[in-house]
């Protein structure tokens, strides 16, 4: 039972989703339930096609589902208006994608300040805030370069700066190190840890990388659209120190 000290950021209850119709209908999520508290780092792992991205997107209000309940930061998705969800994505949630999703026709700083396009923030303030975000990922000197000239790791840091632009409470990352070599991947992972420690940011990271899952406090396994194991359910018994070992065990 979560005590009063916990603040629930994500609450998914018995969510079902499938693609296709009639005969071709294939279930992707089959009754998934997940609760994430403020300040947690959760690694979501599972084989390719197990429904990780689908679940992440549903939590990020980017995808629809058929039944069950989804509530993020107090907003019940089934009742929220489209603009409300968009505002939430703008201010409270940051997304980091495997393929970065930077717009090549813009400079790095322009990519970073894109979220400000959907607010009434003044251009100058927006830039300043964008530079701050780039400084945070250590790329301020590349601000005016197009992302095409950057290395993979640098691109992902620009994408992270964009995700951090409005200082979100929740960071949703879909295989953020999937396109990076192990060393740069390591740096990115360390940076996530820093965000969690220093800013109290809640992170949900989809990965099949050993290192990442080891680093997470809590590992959730998903298989064929069903949660196989979740450290949270064992929180009563297992101490925090042991969770890493357990994750390692589960991942293997």
């Amino acid at each position: 039972m979560p005590s009063q000290a916990f603040e629930t950021v994500v609450s998914v209850r018995d969510v079902h989703k499938s693609y296709g119709k009639g005969q071709a209908k294939t279930p992707v999520l089959r009754g998934v339930s997940l609760e994430i508290q403020k300040g947690e780092i959760v690694a979501l792992i599972g084989q390719s096609g197990s429904g990780k991205s689908t679940l992440l997107n549903i939590i990020g209000s980017l995808d629809t589902w058929e039944s069950g309940q989804v509530e993020v930061m107090g907003i019940d998705f089934s009742k929220a208006r489209e603009t409300e969800l968009a505002a939430m994505r703008n201010e409270q949630i940051g997304f980091v994608f495997q393929s970065f999703n930077l717009l090549d026709h813009l400079t790095c700083i322009e990519n970073v300040v894109l979220p400000a396009s959907f607010t009434s923030m003044r251009e100058k303030d927006a830039r300043e805030q964008g530079m701050e975000a780039l400084r945070r990922v250590g790329l301020e000197e590349l601000a005016h370069r197009p992302p095409g000239e950057l290395s993979g790791g640098q691109k992902q840091r620009v994408a992270i700066a964009r995700a951090l632009y409005n200082k979100p409470k929740l960071l949703l990352c879909d295989e953020p190190t999937g396109n990076l070599d192990s060393e740069t991947g390591e740096n990115v992972i360390e940076f996530f840890g820093e965000l969690n420690r220093e800013d109290g940011m809640t992170l949900l990271i989809v990965t099949h990388e050993e290192r990442l899952s080891r680093f997470a406090e809590r590992v959730v396994h998903i298989k064929d659209g069903v949660i196989q194991s979740d450290d949270a359910s064992e929180l009563h018994d297992v101490s925090k120190e042991d969770s890493g070992a357990l994750a390692e065990e589960n991942a293997s």
């Binding site: 980017l62 995808d63 703008n90 999703n101 322009e110 396009s117 959907f118």
Partner: protein, 461 residues
């Protein structure tokens, strides 16, 4: 999202998709160029026509003879003028009865030493009406003044002082009959007659008069009872005689293609050569309406009330032909921009597919469906606007080339305008409006598709 930020995003994308922009905007350019070109052309031609034949100046005539040969011609006289003045369907300004000479009159004069004779097509009007048009006090019925005794002609040369001539029937000096002509007849003289006869062209009337040593030198001769065209006319009540005239100047109130003199002369001549009947009936009544819109109700009133008709207005006839031709061309222009809108839609649908990831990303960082829609509609509107600017420029450019060719490569003719086009401000503005509108129509469905896209799905592929 503020409009400023929308514009920035739109401009960024436009810069990125220059090639697609140029290709899909081409049809709009052509369509809008055609649109403004034909509108300006028709406005130009229409203005010129209405300048020559003003719509609000109508001519009232009596219905012509019936089929059975019975003379149904209704007489128009002073009571008709009163009726028109007192009707209430239209605001009328001047009402000007005209009386034509009912028997042949040949008009001749010396132009540059050549004697020119024409059948006198002309009529008499109330002199006060023409005097309003900057024609001086000399335009009046000099014969009406019976108190001043006439001077005898000086023999043996039958000469008289100044603008008087010797009338052989009574051997007295009579003032010459004052004549005014319309600007149009000068045009016809200049462009058609002078050219084919190798005569000098009249620039300003003043110049013309000065060249010939003043007004008194501008002698005209009315040969009453004689025809240039037809020699054996119906029997006249009087023998032919010659009356001298003087050209006073140009008046917009003179009949368009003929000469105009004070009505008193026409009355007397008709009485002398045809009879009393002819001296009291008006041939037509010019009515100047205050509003063009009153022409139709006034025409209706004429038929239902005094059983009179409106002479078909040349201006009206030309204007409606021009309107029809204009409409045809505008439809063609609109078909071109419609095809172009379809072309834009096609191009934008491809863009939407190509930019799925971008659309998904924008949604993930807080873009609403409406933001995405506005982004694509905005790009289409910008495309339309830019194509519209080029199209309007192209239309004006083609018009300038057309004007230049028209002025330099077509023969001079009467009323030939200096320009065929009239680019009133509303024409380029509506050209731009059409361009933006059709751009947006083309972009509407693709924008809708982009907005409705599921963000998760957009991001995955």
């Amino acid at each position: 999202m503020t409009s400023g930020k929308l514009v920035k995003l739109v401009l960024d994308n436009a810069r990125r998709h220059r090639r697609e922009f140029v290709l899909s905007g081409f049809g709009i350019v052509v369509g809008v160029a055609a649109f403004v070109f034909f509108l300006a052309l028709s406005m130009g031609v229409r203005n010129k026509v209405l300048e020559v034949f003003p719509l609000e100046r109508v001519e009232v005539i009596a219905p012509t003879a019936g089929l059975a040969g019975a003379d149904l011609t209704k007489r128009m006289d002073e009571s008709t003028v009163e009726q028109i003045r007192n009707q209430s369907v239209a605001d009328v300004g001047a009402i000007i009865p005209r009386m034509t000479v009912d028997f042949p009159v040949a008009l001749s004069g010396y132009f540059n030493g050549d004697r020119m004779a024409l059948e006198f097509i002309g009529d008499g009007v109330d002199p006060a009406y023409v005097r309003e048009d900057n024609i001086g006090e000399m335009f009046k019925d000099w014969e009406a003044d019976t108190d001043t005794p006439l001077v005898d002609c000086q023999l043996p040369k039958f000469s008289c002082e100044g603008l008087y001539y010797c009338e052989r029937s009574d051997m007295k000096c009579h003032h010459r009959v004052p004549v005014v002509v319309s600007r149009n007849i000068i045009e016809v003289y200049n462009k058609n007659y002078a050219k084919s006869h190798g005569l000098p062209v009249i620039g300003e009337m003043e110049q013309f008069i000065v060249q010939r040593g003043g007004l008194s030198k501008m002698r005209l001769y009315f040969d009453l009872g004689q025809s240039v065209i037809n020699m054996n006319q119906k029997k006249l009540q009087s023998e032919p005689r010659r009356v001298e005239g003087v050209l006073l100047g140009i008046s917009d109130r003179a009949i368009p293609l003929g000469a105009t003199i004070p009505m008193g002369y026409v009355e007397r001549w008709n009485r002398e050569y045809v009879g009393e009947e002819s001296a009291t009936a008006y041939s037509s009544i010019i009515v100047e309406l205050e509003n063009k819109e009153d022409v139709a109700p006034f025409g209706k009133w004429l038929i239902e009330g005094p059983n009179l008709r409106l002479e078909d207005s040349m201006g009206e006839r030309f204007a409606s032909i021009i309107t029809i031709i204009t409409l045809i061309f505008i439809v063609i222009a609109l078909v071109i921009v419609t095809i172009s809108a379809i072309n834009i839609a096609h191009s934008f649908f491809m863009q939407v597919s190509e930019r799925r990831k971008e659309i998904g990303l924008l949604r993930s960082i807080g873009g609403t469906q409406n933001n995405i829609r506005m982004l694509f509609v905005g790009e289409a509107a910008l495309l339309g606007f830019l194509a519209g600017v080029v199209g309007v420029g192209l239309g004006i450019g083609i018009a300038m080339v057309g004007d230049w060719a028209f002025v330099n490569y077509t023969a001079d003719f009467a009323f030939k305008p200096k320009t065929l086009f009239d680019f009133q401000a509303w024409i380029p503005v509506s050209g731009l409006g059409v361009a933006v509108l059709f751009g947006m129509i083309g972009g509407a469905l693709p924008a809708r598709k982009a907005a409705k896209m599921q963000p998760a799905e957009a991001l995955t592929r």
